[in-house]
Every structure is written in C-alpha cells, then in structure tokens.
Symmetry: C2
Subunit: 318 residues, 2 copies
Amino acid sequence: MKELTRTEVAEFLRNRDHYCILTHRRPDGDTLGSAAALCRILRAIGKQADILENPEITEKYRSLHEGLTCTACPENATVVSVDVATEKLLNPDFAALLPRIALLIDHHGTNSHFAPEGIVDAGSAACGELIYDILVELGVQMDKSTAEALYTAITADTGCFRYSNTTAHTLRTGAACLEAGADTYRINKALFETNRMSRLKMEAYLAQHLEFFADGTIALALIPLEAEHECGVGEDDMESISNFARNVEGVQLAVTFRTDKTGATKLSVRSAPGYDASSVCAALGGGGHVAAAGARVECDQAQAREKILEILSKQGYL
Amino acid sequence: MKELTRTEVAEFLRNRDHYCILTHRRPDGDTLGSAAALCRILRAIGKQADILENPEITEKYRSLHEGLTCTACPENATVVSVDVATEKLLNPDFAALLPRIALLIDHHGTNSHFAPEGIVDAGSAACGELIYDILVELGVQMDKSTAEALYTAITADTGCFRYSNTTAHTLRTGAACLEAGADTYRINKALFETNRMSRLKMEAYLAQHLEFFADGTIALALIPLEAEHECGVGEDDMESISNFARNVEGVQLAVTFRTDKTGATKLSVRSAPGYDASSVCAALGGGGHVAAAGARVECDQAQAREKILEILSKQGYL
C-alpha cells in the first residue's frame, strides 16, 4: 500500500467525483461518525458521496447516517473505507467490494494495508480525529452535522477523553466540534450516561458475586450463562464488562470468566501497573498486553477458576 | 465587591509577596486542584504561598496538596479563596479568617461577593479553568504538577468534559495540561473509573428495586435506610445517586427517595427535556431547576411515594 500524507489524501479526494464509503462490522461510533463526516465533507466540496448502508448499525447511531446512505455500491464510485483495520472486519455483504477499495483511512497501527493507497495514523485516538485533519486540509467549514459526527467518533473511541489514547490534539479537535455547534451534551448523554436495565442487572449480579483475594488486590468475576440469561443481556450489553471488576477500588488484577457456545471458558484479565495480565494468560496458552489479555480454556468456569488461582499463586500474586 | 479582570487579578497577585489560599467545605477536585495550581503558580513567580490545610480533604486528593500546606494562616499573608461561592461554604475553622479574605477567585454565578475584590466567571466550567487563564496572564510556564492540579480541577467539575458546562475553552485548557505533561490517564482512572464496593452494592440494590411507570418513562427509586446500612454506604458513596434512575434507558423523569435523620423523606427529581422536575417538587413545597429539583416531606417513603404518584398523575405524566 502506498502510504499517503494528509495533503495527498485531500488531493486524492479532490481528484475524483463520486464516492462510496465503507464502515466495519459491529460498527461503533468511530467508524459510523467518521463515515458520516467524510460523506458530508465530500458533498460540501461538490462531490457525489454516499455511505454503503451497514446492516449492523444500531439504534443509538442510526440518526448519524440519515440521508447519507445507499443500499448498493454504485458501479462508477470510488470506494473508501474508514476505521477498517483489516479486510476481515468488512461485513460479509461488503467483501465482494474488497478489490474495489481504492483508499483506506484508518488509525489502527495493526492495519493490514488491504488497499492500494491509504493513510494509517496510529497517533490519532480515533479515525474521526484524522478525518478532521483531512477536513482542515480540504479547507471545508465544519457544519453542525459534521461536527456532531466527528465528536461522536472521537468520544466513542476515547471514552469521552478518558482513555490513555487521548492527546492534546484529540481535545482540540473536540473543541473545534463544540465551536462548530455540536450538541456535545446530548451526544455524551446518549453514549455514556444511558444504561440499559439488562446491563445494570448484570452489574448488580457482579457486585454481589465478585470474589476477592490477597487483601482485595485480586478479583474474580465468574459469569455463568444462566446469569446472562436471567439478566437478559445481549453481546452489546457485555461490552467492556471485564472492566467492572478491574475498576473496584483496591483491585490490581481482575479476571472475568464467560462461557462460550462450545462450553469452553473465555478469560479476560485486566491489570494495573506492576501486575502482568499477559503472563497470567500466557500460562493458559492465551496472550495480549501487560494491562489487558485473554485466554480460552477447554473446561467449565469452576475448573478454569482453579487453574487461574493456581497460576496467580505460582506467579506470586496470591 | 470590586470585580476584577483576569489582567487585574494577575496584577493583584504580582503586587503582594505572601499568600494563604482557602478552599471550601467538603472539598472537591475543583477547589483542591485550583488551590494547588494557584499555590504553585505564585511560588513560580517568587512569592511565598501556602494553602491552609483543609481538615476535610479526602484520600483521593491528598497528594495534590503535598508540600503546599500550612496549618495556620500566617498573620502577614494575603488571604485568597478559590472556588468558594459563599462565606457559608468556608470550613468553620476558617470562618474567623473571613474579614481577612482580600481576593476571591470563583466561577459560581451565585457567588455572594464576600471579599472586597474578586473575579467570578460563570462562563468557566471549573474554577481551575479560570486559574489557567490567570497563569497565562502571569506568563508562567506550566510544570507537570501544576498541569495535573488544573486537569484534576477541570475534569472533576465537568465529569471529564461530559457535562453541559464544558466549552471549547475547557477542552483547550485540558489540552494545554496534557501538553504540559499531566498524567491524565492516572487522574481519570482515580476520579472516574474507581468504584467502592459499597457504592456498587447500592447500585445493585437500585437495579433490583427500581419501579417503572408510564412505559418506562417514569422511574421511582426508594432507598430505605436499611438498604443504606446493608450496603455500607457513607454520604460520599451517595454522591449523584439520583442520576442512577435518571440514566436508565427510556427514563424521562426519575424520583429518588431517601430518609433523613428526622425520619422525613428527601426527594430528588431529575428529568429530561419536556419533563419539569421543578413543578413536581413545587407541588410538595420544594424547588429547583427544570432538570433537577428537590423536596422534603414529613412522612415515610411509602407515604411520599403515594404523594409523588398523585402529583405525577395530576401533572399528566402518568
């Protein structure tokens, strides 16, 4: 893939007339917000542009794409993907378009470079932050809708500026969106201050069933399938559930247990500095980062719990 | 009170040599962070400056004031208060110093102007945002500690840029703190991603006991004293507890019931646009804003619940 600069991306976009934008599977605020903003920017400079309708878009984000989508990729359109790290993250319905993707815009350092040209800026906290830079390069004035799309993208990928990926540039991009009229309070309320009862019931279950060891520095959170059913949670509700135990005061390392379709146990380990989640998971054939790792073991949760306690003990945490 | 501009405040601070800084009762991140930053700024321009030790400072914030405090206000020091809206918010131990407060720096529109000179900027989301402007006026370079104090102040008062008081200037001030080396991830983790078990148990109780009416648009959260005792919560744990019911998906108006020391019921009403919390509370002799209001009724929670249902019905919400 030919890696383009922001200026070259702007030039690319100026040089063609008709665009179709692709988002990734299980679409989040960043891919959807980035696509909406890019579509509006392209239309603002007189191009024909649409987003290929993502069948997995959720209610929370639906309004972002209103009036911007097409149901099939026009034959003569230049195809651009946003926030798509690898071709595997394309919706199966979009997979046939892979050879047609002419430009990719992304911020994942692990991007698989599946297009002939593209920009991958791992320094951008969100793909939306990079889209903002391209907007500036193109000299486009941000309108309210574009500002709200970019703000959604940026806050979704930074937990509203809380995660460690947030830079001064991220905050300044947020400021620019606010100045351009984004109703940031409404967006934050919808993204961060609205909880489904099913999720709250799952958190209630966890609060009542967490197990603590080593003076409360180690926490185990077993989530039996029956508990998931009783709380009525779907996969959406379980997003970041492994942070629940990790965020309890005093906890330095937390292990969350879930059962997958095959009956095996999936472990998520989260840890604070000084505790190594990846070495705990490596002992079970899993892997990941020092602060966040995972493993899958072919046994039920009770057996997986015994294994984890043994490993934690061997590694000196208990 | 003579209202000063930022430039005049900078001049005031340049013109004296010895300062003692006061914070408010039940101190939060804004008053404590603002005091720490102001103290460091004054020391950076060669002044003698200390913060009068606040006996109510909590563990979470203690490190902010390390090496910056005095246990008694020096006789020749100029006394400055930060983030103190009225003299009633001074610690009783500090009350004798009231006539000595020469300058107040605050951002509450309701400030009672208890000093001869001061600056009150209600447009600043946090007092710390105003302290940053004063730092710029004084031409002081922000060091890491000052940046972390200001970042703490700003994020504490904006829920990390989530509340509606956040402006583009707030976000840009956050960006400046990050650029000056503030470990914003650590601060955000401590302020927003760390939960006490007692609070989590209280939330679990609520998740299991919320009552819904009118297709889930109205929620009632009764919190009997026994539940508070069982969960082991203190007043700190109950901060913003009235948002819990309000933040459930679909809820437009939420009423939270607590019992005070006298056995009376305290009601907190929170509402979304289109629903009027203040008129509900007014019907019980209480008051507040459209989105957040309160009332106190001389009866137990079961009776208060009946009254509220009657009012909600009369006002067309049920």
